[in-house]
Amino acid sequence: MSAFETTVTEVAGVRRGGVAAAAVEHRAGIFEMTQAAEDAVLRPKVTGAVFSHELRAALAARIARLSGDDVLADRHLARAGAQAPLADPSSRDDGAVPMLAFVDKVANTTRDITIEDTSSLRSAGMADADIVRLCGIIAFMSYQIRVIAGLRLLLADA
């Protein structure tokens, strides 16, 4: 893998030898680690009981969609399998309501999160380790979305 073969550079459209390529190459290690982070967060070896790779991909696609990044959303959706319906931000699957409400709030109105929001997941029966995993997915996606948004601005500015 090179810095130009990662989700963020491919989705943003940064190409070797093209605009912003020298800056990306200067931070090649960071782009490679960013891809390693995606692999660890969305496709870990140990998933825990709740968050299968498909569910993680569906939530990633949902967060990207809510952020208005359909290219990134479709890329994650391709791995969502049977969980794909959860990627639709209007989806309100009965069994997943507390989790989806949490995902949407942490992704988009982080500042308003209170202890009640984490308590609501516990009340819905989610284990602490899974709450941490869920936050990790939302948090990583928030990073990925903003790296891509920034790279697109850098490309457009050339």
Binding site: A23, V24, I30, T110, S142, I145, A149, G150, L153, L154
Partner: protein, 195 residues
């Protein structure tokens, strides 16, 4: 007794988890490895012990965080901290804002920028370069990200190179990640002194 800190401050609070952290004595080998626990290093924060529930992420996250904030070249360390502060203010992560405002003040040997930001928020009076950096990072941190071509123009007018702008994108985006762990999984608290 302790109380939750709601106002931005440079005085770093204590972080109190909202979930039960991994207990060091019960940690698995993979967790101990990610925590970098060795016989000579057994001090691990509650925050890192909380993240140890998700050990594979923790292991890749620490080197990435360090690289974005500390790798040489590109944007100055203090300006990368400004990106972190802007994101933490948007997401209202009082703990992250405190840690990085404290670092900014120490690196710059000057508290005036973070004093102004914490007193007046986005309207704070800043020099033109800090203004362009803060505004770009603040807007990129909104959900959805709201930075636009005019913010990029302001960075160029302030003299930033591609390499510096990329470091700003990375440091502010990184705190889109960090804030959503720190602010969501715990509270910044201060011990009350006396009865």
């Amino acid at each position: 007794m302790s109380r939750v800190v709601h106002r931005f401050t440079r005085k770093v609070p204590k972080w109190r988890p909202r979930v039960v952290p991994v207990k060091l004595e019960e940690a698995t080998e993979a967790q101990l490895d990610a925590l970098k626990v060795t016989p000579s290093n057994t001090k691990v924060s509650d925050y890192v012990l909380t993240l140890a529930h998700d050990v594979q992420s923790l292991k890749v996250r620490s080197p990435l965080f360090n690289a974005i904030l500390y790798d040489p070249g590109g944007m100055s360390r203090a300006e990368r901290e400004l990106g972190a502060i802007a994101a933490s203010m948007v997401n209202r992560c009082v703990y992250c804002a405190a840690v990085h405002a404290d670092r900014h003040a120490k690196l710059e040997k000057d508290t005036s920028v973070t004093d102004a930001l914490f007193a007046d928020g986005a309207d704070a009076e800043l020099g033109p370069r800090d203004r362009a950096i803060f505004d770009f990072a603040r807007k990129l941190s909104e959900a959805p990200p709201a930075a636009g071509p005019e913010d990029m123009t302001a960075l160029r007018d302030a003299g930033l190179s591609d390499e510096e702008i990329l470091d700003l994108i990375l440091s502010s985006a990184l705190f889109g990640w960090a804030n959503r762990l720190m602010h969501v999984l715990g509270d910044p608290v201060r011990e009350e002194v006396g009865a």
